[in-house]
Symmetry: C2
Subunit: 361 residues, 2 copies
């Protein structure tokens, strides 16, 4: 079988070019006589891989020198604990609840101090981003936490919250490298790479140096201290080396594509193909408030569960994979990350039109 | 360049057959039209991968039904904290210090309770395993901890300690699947896979079910609770999917080779080639007490640092990679894991003989 169009929310489609290179280098990486999987993480060859990956990411995101880049394990979920354990000096943090992942981070933070839910869009099934221009930020908040792109619900912050001077911490797992960002506005930007960047098993943390301190909460495991990983350039213990290598290839692919400004343009064009169709369809409709629509995750429904199921099934048979919505919400969701070519979205819309014609009463 | 003989202590050599298959399946895993890296961890295809991996491991190690197998992130180093956080009900544990990794685990445990060093071989640079037949096991010890094979120093327990009824916890990172084990003797067997099993980024924990409880120490992150991962069959969050897939292939390769009894025989034969030569060499000598020699990691020295460096350099030029001893001890170390063919060791010994002839006064 050929390659399918894979609309998975994560792990997700990767650039074919990157996979081809990885396959070619599997038994002998650049004349080393071994696979990157077999390589000591203290070797010159791997040192070059991780240093180039970091530098390419710095170039792509224009990361200032006073931020460290960490390649860690444990996924985004482990950051839900690592962030309060390292940052909660006053034991107070404010969370904006825009979906399940923000909520999980909030629940985890409660283990370590006072976590306040200062805004939420739960009232309308997280189908919008609350107004964050004048929130009741806690006076002694150690940070304000957001999930910038909500994978499940398909919303995205178009303006960052007004944190009233407090440190902003953002989970960007599902919008990582999809458009340019101003890193200086954040204290921490982090994300699991398995959506827009690489294979599961690596989480990238971009953290302002003054937030990396020794005085973590008592009982913080060594492996959950940013300082340990920062001081050791992500090589305190054996890192997820193969995943970092693939991320590095994706960074190079993004640079060749023109960087994040070019990706933003491409992603906007790509998303418009789907949103424009949804807006005029008599069968399908998007579930998110227009102003808050994500470029990466596009949830939609027919309004009829049986018809949704039929659509997902027929789409799969036609080579469009993983269009089922998240198990907690139902309907459909097309995740159209950087590596999804526009042809994939165009063909999906063609298929939806055909399905609409066949199924509209 | 062709493949080298890679004596790295980890990440380390993998079976060529496994790497070939992975390369072939990189763009299209068994007709799914996608790479395993791109696959939702909730998909049927991945479910099969992880379930087969677990079953094959159970077959290989003969793991009883009352043990769970967990595929986690964070490496062995994260287990140093996860073990006390989950097991220290009385806040007391006994550690046997046979090298740097046991010591690190011991130091980490001190964060969470009273950790006792009940035996040590530090007096002779960890070149032997202490007599563990009658140790002062603490009456209220929650467990007794060992590092079963000491990667850096090249020692291995040939008999397990008498724990006087207490739970035995063992780090088997560098002897994982090298020979049959009696799982029933342990409460927890765990290891990072990047030595004998797969690529860095996966740690496998085999844990007796009654040790998986909800009452972990206060402040234990969700991601550091065995119960969360046990209840969710290692799919609480996105697992290190590609690494698990490669481990699965290695398990199948081991089964084809005849399982762990056959591996033990092969590993003994392989190690004997090197040890027998060391024992009669006038230039090189092994550094470990004979009774405690590891089948996996073989440290040796000439007794002259300059000559050691010369040897490592010339060996590298001849296609024998990573023979330098650990940065903390110097000398040489040949790691000869499951995937190192006996030819590799034979050729190394040939090379050593030549070097000896050229360099002996
Ligand atoms: C926005 C967001 N945050 C966090 C997570 C959890 O990531 P992980 O599975 O790496 O823990 C996800 C996963 O889907 C996500 O979409
Ligand atoms: C016996 C042993 N335990 C633990 C570790 C640490 O493993 P990790 O790097 O996965 O944390 C090592 C790594 O070399 C090791 O050899
Ligand atoms: Mg969400
Ligand atoms: Mg519509
Ligand atoms: Mg050791
Ligand atoms: Mg000798």
């Amino acid at each position: 079988m050929g390659r399918v169009y894979n609309f998975s929310a994560g792990p997700a489609v990767l650039p074919e070019e990157v996979l081809r290179e990885a396959a070619e280098e599997m038994l002998d990486y650049k004349g080393t006589g071994m696979s990157v999987m077999e390589m000591s993480h203290r070797s010159k060859a791997f040192e070059t891989i991780i240093e180039e990956a970091e530098q390419d990411l710095r170039d792509l995101m224009n990361i200032p020198d006073n931020y460290k880049v960490l390649f860690l394990q444990g996924g985004a979920s482990q950051q839900f604990a690592m962030i309060p354990m390292n940052l909660m000096k006053n034991k107070v943090a404010d969370y904006i609840i825009t979906g399940q992942w923000a909520k999980k981070a909030y629940e985890e933070a409660k283990k370590f101090g006072k976590a306040n839910a200062i805004a939420s869009s739960a009232d309308k099934t997280f189908s919008y981003i609350p107004d964050c221009s004048d929130l009741p930020i806690s006076e002694d908040a150690d940070y304000v936490y957001i999930c910038e792109n909500n994978t499940i619900y398909g919303t995205k912050y178009k303006t960052l919250p007004n944190t009233k001077g407090k440190i902003l911490v953002a989970d960007v797992s599902s919008c990582f490298l999809s458009e340019p960002v101003d890193v200086t506005k954040y204290g921490i930007i982090y994300g699991g790479v398995q959506k827009n960047v690489g294979p599961a098993g690596v989480v990238i943390v971009i953290i302002r140096e003054d937030l990396i301190t020794e005085d973590t909460l008592p009982g913080t495991p060594t492996m959950l201290q940013y300082k340990i990983h920062g001081d050791n350039k992500s090589l305190y213990n054996t890192p997820p080396a193969y995943g970092i290598y693939i991320c590095g290839k994706v960074f190079k692919w993004l640079k060749k594509k023109g960087g994040l400004a070019a990706m933003k343009e491409y992603n906007e064009k790509k998303a418009a193909v789907l949103y424009n169709y949804l807006d005029q369809s008599k069968l399908f409709k998007g579930t998110v408030r227009k102003a808050d629509r994500s470029l990466m995750n596009v949830p939609f429904v027919t309004g009829n569960e049986e018809l949704d199921a039929k659509f997902v099934k027929e789409a799969k048979a036609a080579g469009f994979e993983n269009l089922k919505g998240h198990r907690t919400v139902g309907g459909m969701r097309a995740s159209i990350y950087n590596a999804m070519p526009i042809e994939g979205v165009e063909k999906l819309v063609e298929f939806m039109k055909k399905f609409e014609a066949e199924n509209i009463k």
